[in-house]
Amino acid sequence: MRRRAIISLTPLIDVVFILLVFFMLATSFMESRVLDLDIKKSGGAGSMTGAMLVELRKDSLRLSGHLLSEDALLNKLGARFNEMPDQKVLIKPEAGVPLQRAVDLIDHIAAKGGQDVSFVSGTGNR
């Protein structure tokens, strides 16, 4: 058996451990995804015509002013998308609605086949 080298392994382990800890702390495994956001001004009439307006309130949903449950609303939109795949949908959240709910609604509408979903600003509450 050959003689051990003069350099011992302990400093190597030290360095490797430090590198390991660095990579463990600095890497993230959470991959981000994105959602394209689009917003229409509530005043601009041109882009709004023919669009379906979904009002997202704290405890209810309204489609073009009619109070509906989420399932009924999604089914109605789904039926509409079957006839007109490029039907525009506008979402108007009420103040106090968390962003997660708005994103969920977009997801559900997209799952029904909605291709053109955008937000509308404006605080006008009826």
Binding site: I13, V16, F29, M30, V34, L35, I39, L99, D104
Partner: protein, 137 residues
């Protein structure tokens, strides 16, 4: 190497730590290859979950919005009054006018929309809302 044979003298220090080094090296390589080094946000933000599978792509303008509605642009806190001039300044000179917006899932949606309007007004072509992956049921 004579495995199995009884050692006449106890193995020296180096040989005892070799398996340890093997494991640590493997872990190190795993973290280097599998993880991605990302800049951590100066504030805690939990982006909304979404089924969207779009890749974020590149962007030079990163805007953060905390659950309380505070706004940070490229890591620095911005007062609401300075927002528009700063945005215009940042966006106008870029070739690709893409903005990444990372907002907390609990932020008031109307606040996000107000910010979105300002970003669009400042000249951004596309605004991408960062989301985290949601596993389909």
């Amino acid at each position: 190497m004579a495995f199995g044979k009884p050692h006449r003298r106890p193995p020296d220090e180096d040989q005892r730590v070799l398996p340890l080094i093997n494991v640590v090296f493997l872990l190190l390589i795993f973290f280097m290859v599998a993880g991605q080094l990302t800049k951590t946000d100066p504030v805690k933000i939990l982006p909304p979950e979404s089924f969207s599978e779009k890749d974020p792509g590149e962007s030079q303008v990163h805007i953060l919005m905390t659950a309380d509605g505070d706004i940070l642009i490229n890591g620095e806190n911005v007062a609401p009054t300075d927002l528009t001039p700063l945005l215009v300044n940042l966006i106008q000179n870029r070739e690709k006018k893409t903005v990444h917006l990372k907002a907390d899932g609990n932020t008031d949606a109307t606040k996000v929309l107000a910010l979105l309007e300002k970003i669009k007004a400042a000249g951004a072509d596309t605004v991408k809302l960062l989301t985290s992956e949601k596993i389909p049921p």
